[in-house]
């Protein structure tokens, strides 16, 4: 019995050790994201500086800051957060150039500025956003996030200009198909957006 327990505990220890600090850190960060996003962003940032050749940690650190900034009214806080997110995106882009996932995030960051003050940023940022989605689509026509984020942007613009949103339903349908076939490179690679696409598909039909 003793031996069994001893062997068992040893093997558990061994298992725990076989997980690299990177994997452990990423898992902890994803876990933290559920309840305390800022802590999670901080942890991703720490992983980023310890893993200078991996674009995923700065990508997620930026994503949390961007998502967090939607709906913020304090302009100082908003500027500080989005500027930091921009720095992190720049870092990620240096590590991985022409990456459609990072492009989508960049477009979302611009959208956050636009959501805060359309009169100031509309004229300069909306063409930028459009250009980013077009380039990303050329690079990765099969990426579901590119397809759905671009369709959402187009749908929001159409809503703003009082136009029919129905044409974008087929884009969301296409995105859902792409999601069904999408295989992330590792379990830490971006794989988000399916639920939102489903919601958007419903809203565009109504």
């Amino acid at each position: 019995m003793k031996q069994i327990i001893f062997i068992l505990s040893l093997s558990v220890c061994g298992l725990m050790q076989s997980q690299s600090p990177y994997e452990k850190g990423m898992e902890t960060a994803f876990e933290l994201w559920k309840n305390s996003p800022i802590e999670a962003s901080n942890l991703f940032e720490r992983i980023a500086q310890a893993e200078p050749d991996n674009w995923l940690p700065p990508y997620y650190a930026a994503q949390i800051l961007i998502i967090n900034s939607f709906g913020l009214n304090n302009v100082e806080q908003l500027t500080a957060q989005l500027n930091k997110a921009q720095d992190l995106i720049n870092e990620a882009q240096i590590i991985s150039n022409n990456n459609p996932e990072i492009m989508v995030l960049q477009a979302l960051l611009h959208t956050a500025w636009l959501a805060y003050d359309g009169a100031t940023y509309g004229r300069t940022l909306s063409p930028k956003i459009m250009e980013i989605y077009n380039t990303a689509e050329q690079l990765a026509p099969e990426n579901p996030r590119v397809t759905y984020c671009k369709a959402e942007w187009n749908m929001r613009s159409a809503q703003y200009f009082g136009q029919d949103t129905a044409p974008y339903c087929k884009d969301f349908e296409k995105a859902l198909e792409l999601f069904a076939n999408f295989k992330p490179e590792t379990s830490f690679h971006p794989n988000w957006g399916k639920e939102r696409t489903t919601l958007l598909l419903e809203s565009c039909r109504n």
Binding site: M1, K2, I5, F6, S9, P21, K24, G25, S36, I38, E39, N42, L43, E45, R46, I47, Q49, A50, N73, V75, E76, Q77, T79, A80, Q81, K84, A119, T120, Y121, G122, R123, T124, S126, P127, K128, M130, E131, N134, K150, N154, S157, F161, G162, Q163, P167, D171
Partner: protein, 723 residues
Amino acid sequence: MPKLNLLTSIIFFFSMATLQVIQSQTIINGKVTSVTGMPIPGANIYLQGTYDGATSLDDGTFSFLTHETGTQTLIISYLSFQTCRMMDEVLSMRDLSISLRENVNALDAVVLSAGTFHAGDHSKINVLKPLDVVTTASALGDFIGALQTLPGTTTVAEDGRLFVRGGQARETQIFIDGIRVFTPYTPTTNNTPTRGRYSPFLFDGITFSTGGYSAEYGQALSGVLLLNTINEPDQEKTDVGLMSLGVKLGNTQKWRTGSLSVNMSYINLAPYNAILPNRNQFIKPYESVSGESVFRRKTRKGLFKLYGAYDSTNFELIQEDINKPEGLFFKLDNQNAYFNGSYGGVLGEAWSMHAGLSYTRAKNKRRIDDRAIAAVEKAIHAKIKFKNHISNYWRLYFGAEYLTTDFNEPYGDAPNEALEYGFRNDIAAAFVETDIFVSKDLAFKAGLRSECSALLNDFSLVPRVSLALKTSSKSQLSLAYGSFFQTPSNHLLKFNTNFKPQNAKHYILNYQHNSNGRLFRAEAYFKSYDNLAKYDSDIPRANSYFTSDGKAYARGIDFFWRDSESLRHVDYWMSYSLLDTRRNDDNYPKSVQPSYVNTHNLSLVGKYWINKWRSQVGLSYSFASGRPYTNPNRTGFLNAKTRAYNNLSLNWAYLISQQKIVYASVNNVLGFKNINGYQYATSPDVTGHFNRRALQPAADQFFFVGFFWTISDDKNRNQLDNL
């Protein structure tokens, strides 16, 4: 016993394990606060290059364990604070108290801004937004027109140029990417305001300074307008504009390392004049062809931009004239070419540089009755500037520049019997400037500029200083002082070059309060002029007597209020300027208020966005008190004043879709009969009375309709379906 054995071994195993953990891990803890002692929650604290770290709690405290040993670097970072690094033995990182300095680049930090207005994207104190330039009702798409709604400018409706704080229009200089523009305005007929030559859409940042500007800029006594061309266009596109006055075409191409934008426009006032006759009798209506292009190329460490513009304008008309019942014949043929090349890039860790060169060639052929005057002005400006980012709290700039103007004006019909006037003016200058942030709440800027003029045989060294102090989280107070030099203008230098450089000294006190969506600014100033050019004839002539004995002062207070928050969908701003100035320059016999100055200037601009109609309706009203003129029927000089100037303009922009806009505007909706001054007969009539003619605008009202269409490479959308 076996059970007990098992238990002990488990306990033993776990305690051993825990003991091992305790033995090899070190605790790092402490508290993060701001310099003022406020706890900072959410800060990221970690050992450099490791996974070990924590986020500070609501009370600013943090604590984490690490396996690291020896000397390590602890990094503490938080959004708008400066990242703090400390190197120490891990074991001594206990009960740390860390105070973070606020980042001076943060949005709520003090800004060195006395005398300056910004229009742009991410600038901290934007007065105008990028779109304001084209949606201000009275501006008619001209960025100069939009700037005239800001305080510190004077309404000189028949001229259209920028008159700043009692100065003449030529005292305000315009720069594109830091490089001087020598001929920024389009030529016009009498009583028709001029416009800026350059398309507002090529620029993404506009800075307008009405005094106290940096040592980097010289040869401007009153103000500088700095325009920055877009670094990287957003997308490939074609712009089409159909207007009641002509057509515009533009195209932008992008590739991996650069881009090219080309704009062309053709303006012809013949159809407009045919429908709505005006006070001028055109023989050949106003016609202009212009083109401009920007080429940009990214290099590994910087960006090269080449901007080129060419335009050709001609018209022929008979102007009313009190001394000539049949009218005065005036013909103009103007060709203007401008090139501006600049490179900006980083040189190393803390160093960056910017260098540029511009070349202007302006050829102006005028015929007034039977006199023909052709003038050619060629000018070059070269500049190099270095910036050293010593730390976040200390920046150093220095540079040098060289300006040369070659002006040549043959006078008369046949070249062999013609007189020829001209000059060549070379100016070399060097400047050094530093920004020092004592804290987020207190900053200084101090600079020195030296200029050497070959033509005037003069060397000068002048200081420029300013200080900004945060008085609360939303407000700040600024002070600025500067001394500025400018060579007298071409129309005097062509006859005489024995001048001293004209000098102005600015003293500025500025207060501003900026809270979400509302901006209030008040600025009081005093400006004294010395060595202004004078002559003793009605207009400058070759045989006039010229001196540099002119003196002047200007003082006043400017107010600005902008509010885009209080009323839903409404954005408005108000400016009021009070100006008191006396000048004794040109051919003035004594110190007087010049004819281009009004004491009170008020402007109100409002914009209302109607979501349902996808329309923006704009209104702008301006009021200016009367301007002096000389009435020869009474004794004295500039002895009378015109009545006040009023103008209410409306515009309507309708967005058919994101890419198609219909724009209409009416200038002077209420048809105020504005009078800019009077022209008196040179000799009295039989009763001994001098007759006069009111100088009125060519037309009291002006209408504009345009359709603007942007075609971009956007495959999912076909805008034609929506027409």
